[in-house]
Amino acid sequence: MAEISFRNVRKSYGELEVVHGVSAEVADGEFVVIVGPSGCGKSTLLRMVAGLETITGGEISIGDRVVNLLEPKDRDIAMVFQNYALYPHMSVYDNMAYGLRIRGLARSDIDARVRRAAEILELGGFLERKPRELSGGQRQRVAMGRAIVREPAAFLFDEPLSNLDAKLRVQMRAELQALHRRLGTTSLFVTHDQVEAMTLAHRMIVMNAGRAEQIGSPLDVYANPATTFVAGFIGSPPMNLIPSERGGRPVLLGVRPEHLEPCAESEAMMTVDIDLLEPLGSDTLVYGHLAGGRDGTRVAVRLHESVDARTGHLAVRYDPAKAHFFDPQGGQRIVS
């Protein structure tokens, strides 16, 4: 059990700086997700916590220890890798017991821990199997088991679900949540999938180009994105960003697709020329562009009923209280 804190953490490879000073706190027992597009530095940040990358600048501490100069083995963390990194020549049991044996635990203690983890993860019947004899989901669970038996201060997850198929991913997401509720261990989870981030996180760190653009609870980030990047990255389809004017200055008007509602032509705030419909069953996504000049800005609308595509355009309105405004230059949110 421990908190993790980042204080102005930087990483460079030679001249190239890839993480430009990230500061964040992860509370004891909290599940924090670092989310961002590929190349944003999120995995690098996680690997710096694990000790697999050196820390170029700033400080990372786990519990009350600054870990910058500690070896991975001395940091009291366990990591789950994207490709699981199971030892292919060892049985499931030995995979989980490996770290414990190295730490010199008693045989009976090792056995108890491995069996308990196997029970939690429903791996009881597979302890003698080799990783290659397991399915993707089972391998994933063994990787989790290897982390659990160590009883570390924190779990680090490096995109652990991205090698699974869509259905299994949803299932493992639920299992991860259940596991965290049960163990309550501080967890840091890296993903590029905003749905994973939204569903798993207590709080999330949205990263872009080596910076933490926003840190907050999923719903708070969703409701009040700090920048146009966050507005575009969190939510699917992303928030509509429409060039507009406010108080005589140019701004970007941000409206979520579900906040645009169809209305009569007379009360329309904008009209969308429909390009494409995506019926999802529960609702319909309408993709189009703004009618009437305004340089054809693309707009998405989420409708809770089916729509007649042959009309060719859709009149919509929105609740001004749900509109966001951003600076068109820096992309920062304009707080009114």
């Binding site: 963390i77 994207q82 020549h89 190295i102």
Partner: protein, 293 residues
Amino acid sequence: MEKRVVFRSAWLPYALVAPQIAITLVFFFWPAAQAVWYSLHLQDAFGLKVQFVGLANFATLFKDSNYLASFKVTALFSVLVAFFGIAISLLLATMADRVLRGAMAYKTLLIWPYAVAPAVAGVLWAFIFAPSIGILTYILKGWGVDWNWIIKGDQAMLLVVIAAVWKQISYNFLFFLAGLQSIPKSLIEAAAIDGASPFRRFWTIVFPLLSPTTFFLLVVNIVYAFFDTFGVIDATTQGGPGQSTNILVYKVYHDGVKAADLGGSSAQSVILMFIVIVLTVAQFRFIERKVQY
């Protein structure tokens, strides 16, 4: 998953493998069959008359103390060559795999000896270790070592082992390097987080994962020591001094070509053939079983 090409034509597949089969038949099976035939016959010195003698050639061989000694020499030689050839190249490959700067230069230099013919490698080392003018002989003398492989059997053995190993390291190195590079980096990282020291990571993760490569190299190196080191021996010790480096394959050549005992030499090569077949089968049956994971 098996990928199979199905030919429609009845004769095309045979035509395609025919060259390989022809080469195998002409250059492997025919000489082998001839060796068997000659091993059962006695030929006069001028090659004019041939007489069937049954297993007499073999009986003579097993009463010959020189021949029995050659077995011991071959066993020692092949174990030393295979062991050091594999151990040193594994060490070099592990180190080359860790090098970040100038890795290509190291790798290229380490691969070069493979391009040197065994006989040339032998001559090279014979010069370096030459009793009168060798540079290493000079250095050894400075340390008080009396180095003269021309008259000392164990030193002669050391020389041919060094030359044979030096020649083979490049080959082993290439395979080990490829093997090391195919081990996912995350496995090593996972082991590091699990608390394993670099030494322990090597013996519990890397080495077991390299075991298929090591096994393959063991088979190849034993066969190399048995046969391909002929050039090394011929260019340096020629089996001497006495019988101390007279390995089986060199004795086959010496007795057949130089001593003109065609029947005896053929009998030896039949035995040699048999030994290598047994060794290879044994290696696959007993050692490969431990390699699977």
